[in-house]
């Protein structure tokens, strides 16, 4: 199965409390906005209390909500420690986006210290959106196929948070912070 914008499997991983559900749903709603079918699988319950949580997002013609090992086109890691556990989901030639304060030796991936960037703009809890902005932008800018552009996400954020005033403004600013960083970034 080759990777096309019409058929993409994205694996997201982090720990409870980082807001992984929010960005999974944001990406899924953006896929619907672009006219694609979508399937997701979320983690609820006990694990949400700070344990390891994952989301599966499949854009296009799929029937199973789960991604099999070596099938993910994109891996988005909100916590770098999860790389060892969830790296097996990535297909050969797939892209890894990771939130990490320091470089990760020997791995070809797109890294950003999204936690620090979120703190810088006074929104430590918006690391998820910063990393989402970084992911969408860096994938678009490095000829990695993705089903959406930063503008698509902004449109959906406007729809999703319309009438929410400061919450929308903050969400956009966090997302844009990540996008800016992604525009400066090359693979490595």
């Amino acid at each position: 199965m080759s990777n096309t914008p019409e058929r993409q499997q994205i694996f997201l991983s982090g720990v409870g409390g980082q807001g992984i559900l929010f960005i999974t749903r944001l990406l899924a709603e953006t896929a619907i906005y672009r006219g694609y079918r979508v399937l997701t699988a979320e983690t609820h319950g006990m694990a949400q209390r700070g344990g390891v949580v994952v989301s599966h997002l499949k854009v296009g013609a799929f029937s199973s909500p789960l991604i099999r090992p070596c099938m993910a086109d994109i891996l988005i890691l909100l916590k770098r420690d999860n790389l060892g556990q969830h790296g097996i989901y990535l297909r050969p030639g797939g892209s890894v986006i990771v939130n990490s304060p320091s470089n990760i030796e020997g791995a070809e991936l797109f890294r950003m210290d999204a936690s620090a960037a979120a703190r810088e703009i006074g929104q430590p809890k918006s690391m998820n959106l910063v990393l989402a902005g970084f992911a969408v932008s860096v994938l678009n800018n490095n000829d990695r196929m993705l089903f959406c552009s930063p503008d698509d996400i902004r449109t959906v954020l406007h729809k999703k948070l319309s009438g929410r005033g400061k919450i929308l403004v903050d969400a956009l600013s966090a997302f844009n912070q990540g996008v800016c960083c992604g525009e400066r970034k090359n693979n490595g």
Binding site: H44, G51, P65, L66, R68, P69, K79, K125
Partner: protein, 614 residues
């Protein structure tokens, strides 16, 4: 007749639980009841949301437990209304008594029992299969493979239920409940009926003699349902002639379908979705055993379909051992099983990494952490029984010895008291139970402990919410599922009403005071009987409680810190981190809630409140 069409044909992202709720709303459900439990918790709030948004006449309520939720919704059905009850699989254990009888008596208005299973288990005590409970009760069960199908099955379920006057179970699993899909909203064409009671004591109050008649009638209904066309098995690839076939149900079918397409097996082997695993369609059983030489059955989590195919030598599945007999059937497992069954070589994938990484913990500032710490300080050598909820994570703190099922902390405390008394040993025994769990199944146990003259301390961890499942209100909140005011109960009144002589309320954030209160309770328990302490402080992640959290302070770790890490390892506060360079604890300000409990916890007294001028 209410006719509400969605504004336009747009597809919206919906979880399986929202789709199930949407199915109820689209099909005119008048009463929906539930008790929260992962993975079913979000069904009722979604019913509440739509009934409120569309001003529909639906009674939407959290019940005190699943048994009562069941009985309430079932009464609505006897009165001719379309109703539903939703719960997690272990909730059905609690509701199993009315479930078994309701099968015999049957229904008037359509009645759907939604029991969500959790293969894995991800957030449950067992991997039990509710379809097996349906078979046990002799009730038909539908097994959706996706959120969209879950919504669509609600119409099938109501028709089935009304046509045969029988309760119908919908059995989603975690992957359906917490899956998401783009779904097109259908119009709501609901006829809300007037309640009527068709007085028939031989049916609704049947004595054993009449029960036999009802049982025979139920068997006749089941025979007819085993020939009910709309819920019959569906063949994915009718053009294929093969000697082997795969039968799958639930989300396992969704995995099978995708793997078959990816691997090309779809061109070689007949693939069936079993929509109604019980009763399995009679003609289908005959045809399948005649047409195929070998049948692979892929289902979660127990062999319900497999059991009904009598020709054992032809059938492979979980019972035959061809498929692992425990754990979730993840798609990589299913792929391997399908390839083995079809004689195709396996796809080479790396070994799945061992589960690991950060384990779940109580949140920073969680009042339960303070309660558990106080419990260990006041009763260092006690037996600690506990219960189901966030606070089960108190096991990390060494403050829990046993967790069995909802409400068991109290019965077990009672049992341990008498077991040790018989041996002449009088130990401290401390039970911990959450507020919602106390209402759910703690009260009967507490009454029983009083009359058995058991001696222990019960700490009711009252955070004013059902936290673990997403902060649903408890009976003490005075808020219904739609957010409106409703009558409320006070835990202390209920405790005293159960006959308990010692009932005091304390704030666990006041650690020294709370430890003192527990010691008083302990002294009372040794002398007189059950003593109850209500540890009252609101959950920090509950949005409704934000206004009362005003007592926050800023904290720092002073030079007195010797790096012993007690606050990290024993108190396990996520906001406490170890600074390798300076070899001492530091506070992560992004996570710290400012509860200040750690000031009393640090053995060196190194954690201080930041003074105004610092």
């Amino acid at each position: 007749m209410i006719d509400k069409r969605p504004q336009m044909n747009t597809r919206v992202l919906m979880t399986g639980n929202e789709s199930i709720a949407r199915g109820l709303i689209e099909n005119g459900c008048s009463m929906a009841l539930s008790y929260p439990g992962t993975p079913a918790s979000e069904i009722l709030p979604a019913v509440a949301k739509w009934s409120k948004e569309l001003s529909l006449p639906v009674h939407v309520r959290w019940a005190v437990n699943e048994k009562i939720a069941f009985e309430t919704a079932y009464a609505g059905s006897i009165a001719g209304l379309r109703t539903a009850v939703s719960m997690k699989q272990v909730g059905l254990n609690v509701a199993s008594d009315p479930f078994m009888s309701a099968a015999y008596m049957g229904v008037k208005g359509g009645f759907i029992v939604i029991s969500a299973d959790d293969p894995g288990p991800h957030s449950s005590q067992t991997e039990q299969d509710s379809r097996m409970m349906a078979m046990f009760a002799k009730v038909p069960v539908l097994d959706p493979s996706s959120p969209e199908q879950a919504r669509d099955f609600m119409a099938l379920a109501y028709e089935l239920s009304e046509q045969y006057e029988v309760p119908v179970m919908l059995r989603p699993t975690t992957r359906v409940c917490h899956g998401g899909q783009d779904i097109e909203l259908k119009e709501i064409r609901a006829e809300y009926r007037s309640a009527e009671l068709d007085r028939d004591p031989a049916r609704w109050a049947a004595t054993p003699n009449f029960r036999l008649t009802l049982h025979k009638k139920l068997n006749e209904k089941l025979s007819a349902i085993a020939a009910h066309t709309p819920t019959g098995p569906r063949l994915l690839n009718p053009e294929i002639r093969s000697s082997k076939a795969i039968l799958a149900s639930g989300v396992a079918y969704a995995h099978v379908q995708e793997i078959a397409k990816d691997s090309g097996l779809i061109d070689n082997i007949a693939i069936w979705q079993v929509v109604q695993p019980f009763p399995l369609h009679k003609q289908f059983i005959e045809d399948a055993l005649n047409c195929y030489d070998e049948i692979l059955i892929i289902e979660e989590s127990m062999p319900v379909i497999e059991t009904q195919l009598a020709a054992r030598h032809m059938v492979k599945g979980r019972m035959s051992g061809f498929i692992p007999q425990a754990g979730e059937l993840l798609p990589d497992i299913i792929e391997e099983v399908m390839r083995r069954f079809c004689g195709v070589s396996a796809r080479v994938v790396p070994e799945p990494a061992v589960a690991g990484g950060q384990k779940p913990r109580l949140c920073a500032g969680c009042p339960h952490r303070a309660s558990f710490f106080a419990s260990k300080k006041a009763f260092p050598n006690a037996i600690y029984t506990s219960d189901i909820g966030c606070y089960t994570l108190g096991a990390n703190l060494g403050a829990i010895d046993t967790v069995l099922c909802m409400g068991a902390s109290i019965g077990q405390a009672s049992g341990f008291y008498h077991a040790f008394r018989l041996s002449g040993i009088y130990k401290d025994i401390v039970a911990t139970i959450g507020d919602s769990t106390f209402f759910h199944s703690g009260t009967a146990a507490l009454m029983d402990a009083v009359i058995q003259d058991s001696r222990f301390v019960l700490i009711v961890l009252d955070n004013s919410t059902t936290a673990m499942t997403g902060n649903q209100p408890t009976p003490a909140c005075g808020i219904d599922a739609c957010g409106a005011a409703m009558p409320k109960l006070a835990i202390e009144d209920v405790v005293r009403g159960c006959g308990v002589g010692f009932c005091r309320i304390g704030n666990p954030y006041d650690l020294p005071g709370f430890i003192g209160l527990l010691k008083e309770a302990g002294a009372y328990a040794q002398e007189k009987g059950v003593a109850v302490v209500i540890a009252r402080y609101p959950c920090l992640v509950d949005k409704r409680s934000i206004n009362i959290k005003t007592d926050r302070i800023e904290l720092r770790v002073s030079d007195l810190c010797n790096g012993c890490s007690y606050c990290i390892n024993e108190f396990e506060c996520p906001a406490m981190e170890y600074d390798e360079k300076n070899r001492r604890a530091v506070i992560n300000k992004d996570l710290c809630s400012g509860c200040g409990v750690c000031i009393h916890v640090c053995p060196s007294g190194a954690i201080k409140e930041v003074a105004g001028n610092e």
